[in-house]
């Protein structure tokens, strides 16, 4: 179960790399955030809206993810993409938390726990595919899940995404729209798929999958990073007004 009041050890602080000038402060007019750090006890209960983006570079450690013939490894490239996405989000006034900083491989649940410990957060998992039309990008939201019976105020961990599916779809469509403007041939709207990483995440959550590791030159993928970063940041900014943040981390929207 996901408690609205997670243990202090679950609370993730924004990554050390965020400088005060690049990161939104509690009074940032750009981000419109009025109290930005998740409290384990819900003391700072007032939130004006979306303030934190949790970035999840998929795979890592012993799991390289998709591998291209040219030695391209998904786990490495997504980390490079995350640097640029992070920068674009911080320019939009968001705080950014990463599920991994280097070549580690946190479990699916550990990555979800990072997101579930935040208040006013969205979750973006970044992937590079093995297949698909190179140069296109797809956004995925989780498929339908059985509804959560909110009798005790707790969200079942294995269906934590259920109450957020509508918000995830809105967020996903916005990001996909900005991506499709940049990357022709990408779908017009977010797709649904049973993505394991999203299922246990108690926040609006999307997976962004870039095609693909089959490119002959890694530079072809690197050139996509600024466009992906800009689309995610613009999508998050556009989504912000429609996300009414609950008072407690992990609580129902």
């Amino acid at each position: 179960m996901v408690s609205p009041f997670p243990a202090p050890s679950q609370i993730q602080q924004p990554a050390a790399g965020a400088t005060p000038s690049a990161s939104p402060s509690a009074t940032s007019s750009q981000g419109g955030v009025s109290g930005s750090v998740a409290s384990p006890f819900g003391a700072q209960a007032q939130q004006a809206g979306l303030s934190i983006v949790v970035l999840d570079p998929a795979h890592g450690g012993t799991d390289p993810g998709a591998r291209g013939t040219g030695g391209i490894r998904e786990s490495e490239i997504v980390l490079d993409f995350v640097i640029q996405v992070r920068r674009a989000l911080e320019l939009q006034g968001f705080q950014v938390v990463q599920t991994r900083q280097g070549n580690e491989n946190p479990s699916f649940d550990d990555r979800s726990a990072t997101a579930n410990a935040q208040r006013g957060a969205v979750f973006v998992s970044l992937h590079i595919s093995s297949t698909g039309l190179p140069g296109t990008v797809r956004v995925y939201v989780n498929s339908d899940l059985p509804p959560v019976a909110d009798s005790n105020g707790l969200i079942p961990w294995d269906r934590a995404q259920a109450p957020f599916l509508g918000l995830s779809k809105t967020f996903g469509d916005l990001v996909q729209g900005f991506l499709t403007q940049r990357f022709k041939g990408s779908p017009d709207a977010a797709q649904t798929a049973s993505v394991r990483q999203l299922r246990t995440t108690a926040a609006p959550a999307i997976a962004v999958e870039i095609s693909s590791v089959t490119v002959e030159d890694r530079a072809d993928l690197d050139r996509m990073a600024p466009g992906v970063a800009d689309a995610v940041a613009r999508g998050a900014a556009a989504f912000k007004p429609s996300y009414v943040v609950a008072n407690s981390p992990g609580a129902l929207p």
Binding site: A58, T131, G132, R138, V195
Partner: protein
């Protein structure tokens, strides 16, 4: 130590080294042979487990829809119609269509499942829940990624939906075990919806199709199956 002892010691060491030099290659050959035999026996066991489903010539030939990748629209499934003699028994029928799906289309580029993947077992519970147990190759040989993994699962569920109405939902196992994901992305802990309509006997069985054996791509791309999760 006297010179005589030194001589004996050095001689003993030389003999030991020579003996080792002769014996180690023999030992290495024996280990390799044992490993090869073990591999062969595992392969044999796997073949025995996955004997092709006997096709009864008496079974009516049925227009069977198999879902493979489209060659015109990226990352989309398209139904291909093939005439197959199919059993009326839903479990045998499921095995027949899934084995045909695993065999792949004429154009190998359009396959959705790894060529070395095998269907090890198929079970159907009275409530319409089916369990398809695939060999590890389904998880290890499939290209990693959301889109490729979803295409693989959807090709299985859509093919079952089109040909075996008794299957309501599907649980995918890998080598008899529940796994968290197919290849790092797609969630396999739940079941996937196959048929939402009440089970009815396959109507196509009544009208025997001509035994052409040709593959005919249909025009409409297949819609994607919706997964569901265990309660």
């Amino acid at each position: 130590m006297t010179p005589r002892w030194k001589f004996s010691l050095i001689g003993g060491l030389v003999i030991t080294v020579l003996a080792a030099a002769i014996y180690f290659p023999i030992l290495r050959r024996r280990v390799k042979r044992a490993a090869r035999l073990q591999q062969q026996s595992q392969e044999q066991a796997r073949r025995e487990l996955t004997q092709p489903i006997a096709i009864n010539p008496g079974d009516p030939r049925v227009k069977t829809k198999l879902f493979w990748a489209s060659d015109t629209i990226d990352s989309t499934l398209v139904p291909v119609t093939v005439d197959l003699p199919l059993s009326n028994d839903p479990v045998l029928r499921s095995k027949q269509v899934l084995n045909t799906l695993l065999a792949g289309p004429v154009d190998a580029e359009l396959r959705t499942l790894p060529p070395d993947a095998l269907l090890l077992a198929f079970y159907l519970l009275p409530d319409g829940t089916a369990m398809a147990d695939f060999s590890e190759a389904l998880a290890t040989s499939i290209p990693s990624g959301i889109v490729s993994e979803q295409l693989a699962v959807n090709s299985i569920t859509r093919t079952l939906e089109a040909n075996v109405p008794q299957v309501q939902r599907l649980k995918i196992l890998i080598h008899g075990q529940e796994v968290e994901t197919l290849a790092g992305h797609l969630d396999l802990t739940g079941t996937f919806v196959v048929n939402t309509k009440p089970s009815q006997p396959p109507a196509a069985d009544k009208a025997a199709a001509p035994a052409t054996g040709t593959l005919t791509p249909d025009k409409a791309p297949g819609k994607l199956a919706q997964p569901e999760h265990k309660p």
